[in-house]
Symmetry: C2
Subunit: 327 residues, 2 copies
């Protein structure tokens, strides 16, 4: 949550001049994104009526070679009517430009705010929106392997080391060494695939009341099982922050919303309990790695891996109950 | 440069409901302000056409008792036609509200961007805008003592300690113990006063081309000598970042712009060289204090006190040359 790079008015105005969006009127660095810097940009608009954009500078973690995939996906989904911001192309047609050696992209601004405690009605709308992007992405020509699959979780835990894991919480080493192999052993491989968001937490959804006005931050998007994306979203939306309290109404509404657009097949439904445990394991792994990688007194807030260890236990005990067919 | 507090959509919507500005449409935490958190807020507007505001939460350093002075000053200057954002009052007429034990205020959004390397034309506009607020503030009923006067600089250096100062730079202890008393001994007390901004760096000025569209961040504003405010602004605008390179054209334009609205009297002009040295000493003192107060690996960028020690040397050697009457 930071702006890593200073861009002065002169630099910004020169950059904006490469786009058909009018003159630069305002630019505010915004506190969003952990692997990039973002500015909320206002311009006079190509027709003089004013327009707003998000300018993103890709600072780290994101491979420049992946940008055509990510930015093309936004355009593909937006063109199909999904509430996804489109990429603004420069006068030469490029989706991104280089500035001070870093890639930058100008992205459509979408209204809406991120909720902290979703209602069932909001979860239903999010489920439906997720299914819509799964369907709309099926004919997207790009593809990208998921680099956070079960083998990658194992690698992350190994880089942490058992001692460091135990220092965070005594339960973590057991999760890494016993539970992860169990999940990986039964991990499905043959469920229906599309492009998935893979990180659809509430802060990546903009809402106006009960309506989804924007799905944002597709920088984990990849080709993977659609049911896994639902499982990630379920783990992200149906609990309080630390994973101690499951919200059954939100869970049922998220599932009903998804299935109102794309009903799960039998194999997908049967796999949801293990997919949900895997989704939790993915966040336990990345959070444990980031915990060890982040100095204790850094201003970046470290996220507790145990928040998702608790969710994992919930799913292991609940079995298929949370995923019974929507009524 | 951070957002210190998380405010979810539900909390923000409830807060915005106390103002006659329409429904909350968007909220982005912005990376501005070191002693407060800020959000760029968009609402439907009281007439449904959309409106933008800055929501500020006062986190530290600012005394709540000073808020009526600061917020009333914005309203006073704005009503007089100065490019200063007005305070939006809630339905009950209050200029600020309490949220989670902290004061928050809704402030008018102004267009414009902050320049990195001002041109002479821009400096001229800034000088004129500064003189305009000095004149417009003269009948403001509020007053606030300057808590960063020569005695306060001395206190800050004493809190640092000679060893810590020397560790930052061997020259600093000499500045604190020899130069500061020399400046304080000849510090003028009887020059014309008004409310001064006291921190008008380029990042506190919004510009559209050569026009000043906004003067912001009045949280150091206080009752003090107008010529001292000009000296602060001169030190902030007429050098490159580290104070090694003086820009004579920008200096002349800033002075000419100021005097086009409010010509200096003889006593003020004679005092400008010492006021400029004092202005530099003020920033050397606060930067040295913050340098020692900020952990080396904190994500907040520490500002080098030597940037202003170099400016101080420039002013000491240049005498009255930079402040010759505008032609």
């Amino acid at each position: 949550m930071a702006v890593y790079t200073h861009l002065g008015a002169e630099t910004l105005a020169e950059l904006i001049g490469h786009y058909d969006v009018g003159e630069l009127v305002s630019a505010k660095g915004i506190a969003e994104g952990v692997s990039n810097s973002n500015w909320l940009i206002e311009t006079g608009g190509s027709d003089g009526t004013g327009a707003r954009f998000i300018l993103t500078m890709y600072e780290r973690r994101i491979e420049p070679g992946d940008l055509p995939f990510f930015l093309g996906l936004l355009d593909h989904l937006s063109a199909k009517g999904c509430p996804v911001p489109r990429t603004i192309h420069d006068r030469a047609g490029a989706a991104y430009r280089m500035l001070d050696g870093k890639a930058v992209a100008l992205i459509e601004f979408l209204p809406g705010v991120s909720v902290d405690a979703p209602t069932a009605a909001q979860a239903r709308a999010v489920g439906a929106a997720l299914a819509e992007i799964h369907l709309a992405a099926q004919d997207y020509e790009g593809s990208r392997a998921n680099d956070l699959s079960p083998g990658d979780w194992r690698d992350l835990f190994e880089q942490c080391g058992s001692d460091a894991l135990t220092e965070i919480d005594p339960a973590l080493a057991g999760l890494a060494h016993a539970r992860l192999p169990e999940i990986a052993a039964v991990w499905p491989e043959d469920l229906d695939r599309s492009i998935i968001h893979a990180d659809l937490f509430p802060d990546n959804v903009l809402m106006l009341g009960d309506r989804v006005s924007g799905l944002i931050d597709f920088y984990f998007a990849c080709t993977d099982m659609m049911a896994y994306d639902f499982a990630v979203t379920h783990a992200a939306w149906c609990f309080d922050r630390d994973g101690r309290c499951f919200d059954e109404a939100v869970s049922g509404a998220l599932l009903a919303g998804y299935e109102s657009v794309r009903p799960f097949g039998d194999a997908e439904r049967a796999a949801l309990p293990v997919l949900a445990q895997g989704a939790c394991m993915r966040f336990v792994a990345t959070r444990a790695f980031d915990w060890i990688d982040t100095p204790e007194d850094a201003l970046v807030t470290r996220k507790d891996p145990m928040d998702f260890a608790r969710r994992l236990e919930f799913y292991a005990e609940a079995g298929d109950a949370p995923f019974a067919a929507a009524r």
